[in-house]
Symmetry: D2
Subunit: 232 residues, 4 copies
């Protein structure tokens, strides 16, 4: 069984709106095997319409909703009711992604709703400063994407990743730390976990691979190997 205390190391497989229906189900089934065989926790996102189907067909992966809102049962057409996600089988949710940003107030209300319903939260930040701010709100995992660097000509070098991890740990030693900007290969995954992240994730690295499941397997094995190195 899944335990929040033991989510590390992890890999977020996030096909966004590239895959849905049968395609996402097929990848989910393969990820379920990979999670079982590697022991890496996989947060697997899918469209809202596919959550129930994916959950019913799998045993190991953490079925992850692409978003959620804070509303309670009652009025509210077109919004994402937390209870509807939970009942359909969602284990976790991505919040505040750059493609779906939230106000601070709505984010915090939604995070409290997730806690009520025991839905695991992965909350995205666009910069290290924002990651530290979000860490104050007590997410389960904070996803730091160093877009601070965008347009600066710098790359997310090793020292940058180490600093990011250290700064977030200083705010909350227990929060899960995911670093995921521009991860496309197994080597990228190895590097960020070796440098201190608890996990990583990928969209384009997976959906644009010739064999997406094979790519996920390589990435999970890299994450596991990097994690083991740290434990020694």
């Amino acid at each position: 069984m899944y335990k929040k205390e033991a989510f590390s190391p992890f890999m977020a497989v996030n096909p966004k709106s590239y895959f849905w229906g049968k395609t996402i189900l097929e990848l989910a089934l393969q990820c379920d095997k990979i999670a079982e065989e590697t022991g890496v926790t996989i947060y697997f996102t899918c469209p809202f319409t596919d959550i129930r189907m994916v959950k019913e067909a799998t045993k190991i992966i953490q079925v992850t909703a692409q978003g959620m809102e804070a509303l309670r049962p009652g009025r509210g057409i077109g919004h994402i009711l937390p209870e509807s996600l939970k009942e359909a089988g969602a284990d976790a949710v991505f919040l505040n992604h750059a493609e779906n940003p939230m106000t601070i107030s709505e984010l915090y209300r939604t995070m409290r709703r997730a806690k009520e319903l025991d839905i695991f939260t992965i909350v995205c930040a666009d910069s290290v400063a924002e990651a530290k701010a979000i860490a104050m709100l007590e997410p389960d995992i904070v996803l730091a994407e160093p877009t601070d660097l965008i347009g600066t000509g710098e790359t997310a070098d090793d020292s940058y990743i180490k600093d990011t991890v250290r700064e977030i740990r200083a705010v909350d030693p227990d929060v899960g730390i995911m670093i995921a900007s521009g991860i496309t290969t197994a080597e990228d995954c190895y590097r960020v976990v070796a440098l201190g992240a608890d996990g990583t994730g990928s969209t384009s690295g997976v959906v644009k691979a010739d064999n997406p499941a094979q790519r996920v397997r390589e990435m999970c094995e890299a994450v596991k190997k990097a994690h083991q190195t740290k434990e020694q």
Copy 2:
């Protein structure tokens, strides 16, 4: 089989975020019988997570999504991809509800996406002027809620409803016209259809009834009776 040419008379059963999961499935099954027995087209809305389950369990009702966006397959986490709704079984979609309003540009793009995928559109308007504007965009059904009157002390009397229908027909003689503000009883349903609407709908009248399915049945029978009166 469902034909757009023959959607009249219709009844929108719109439990919003009051029902989900098992509760919505149960009501859907009962509505399926009611639609079959009365011949009234039922647009049955449910949370995104329940579309596939409701569609697989029913034969007659028009499974209706609570919203949709214009994005295409690719990036876009947390957004409502049209293809994901279609594949899960959505027949129709509510757009621009006052609880989930859209910019004109996003609404029109989304309506074109719905046409591409043969998803039936029910587009909401907050006033008669807005209903006429929306009719120019060629929805399948325009839902006119006379919130023009809110706060004026006037009620939506018979002449108001007749005028609303006449003004929308003048813009587009073929669009489906739904009038639904404050519909809580079968008598309310009878009245708006007798006065010219092609159909009506209800949220609170259904979800707050002691027996929601019984209330839907009474409403559908009233809609059918009013429609037959007009045909004679």
Copy 3:
């Protein structure tokens, strides 16, 4: 004095956020002369902070706010109160620009607020269908930008412009019609007015010119000449 009945031909000079403060004041003063000398109505937009200063320094140009909201005096921090624009001297307002889109409901409420306060409305549409929808809401001027064509490989050729004008006129013969997509030269201005528009407008054609005021003068003269051709 300005009369709505006599706004044609017109030119919208829309420096967006390229100019503010002293720079916008200087251009406004020059436009005031150009408007007087050519007889072309100039809708001159400026940042909210500059409306009062520009209005106090000019006599002829129509000082135009970049946006407005529907709120009434009372609560509402950070929002654009119609009364605050009117008192500062705004004659007109741009609404629903693609860079600042509005929901249909908020747009219509704001247009009614503009009427209450006698503020002239220039309402933007992203496509011909949207322009026709907006015309149903009775703006003073509808701005049609044929973004329908974007990405199709087609250009906005003469027949397209003529069709756009004809379709909008069919909805409302009295609405002012502005066509402004990609207008960078005086020749562009001449063409759209000669083909039927009541006026046109420009941002980049003006702000990126070596001499913005000289460019406005050429454009206004072209608009006037095209308009005179139509009157004969």
Copy 4:
């Protein structure tokens, strides 16, 4: 002259959209005297259209914009360009008010723009947790409104205010702390400053007073007295 190091004690006079034009100018002139006579820093908000007029007519008050956005000079119609506020004379800006909430990413970008232009930031938080998160982003003042308590039946008692101040200080000892929820009398102002806040603020307490300027004077005197008590 104004120094950030010496902003304490302060009072935010925030008439929102209740006052504009001549009415706001009159109150601003009176506040300028009050600020001079009491030595309390007054952050005086006004509509965007009135910033230049209020700044030109006053010497002591901190002229405060009701909001701002992160855009840079260029495109962007209807948005609040930082440079346009600065040039008009804004000293400070309110950000993320509950009536005008921002995404975390947009808030942080806007705060960095404010720093570039030396505009003082007053950033609002809906709860203590959010206030702590915002403190990580290094605002000049964080405004904590204990809406945590709304609907709980509890009031913001003394221990609550002390705890709020202590928790924010633990994150950033140097940030200005404003507590302002439901402040309507001079006694309310005295209390929150005596309990640890650096300042407070009021909307309805001022705009609904028979004599708004007299109310501001009483409030500033109370703030000053509470501050002096703490210094002893």
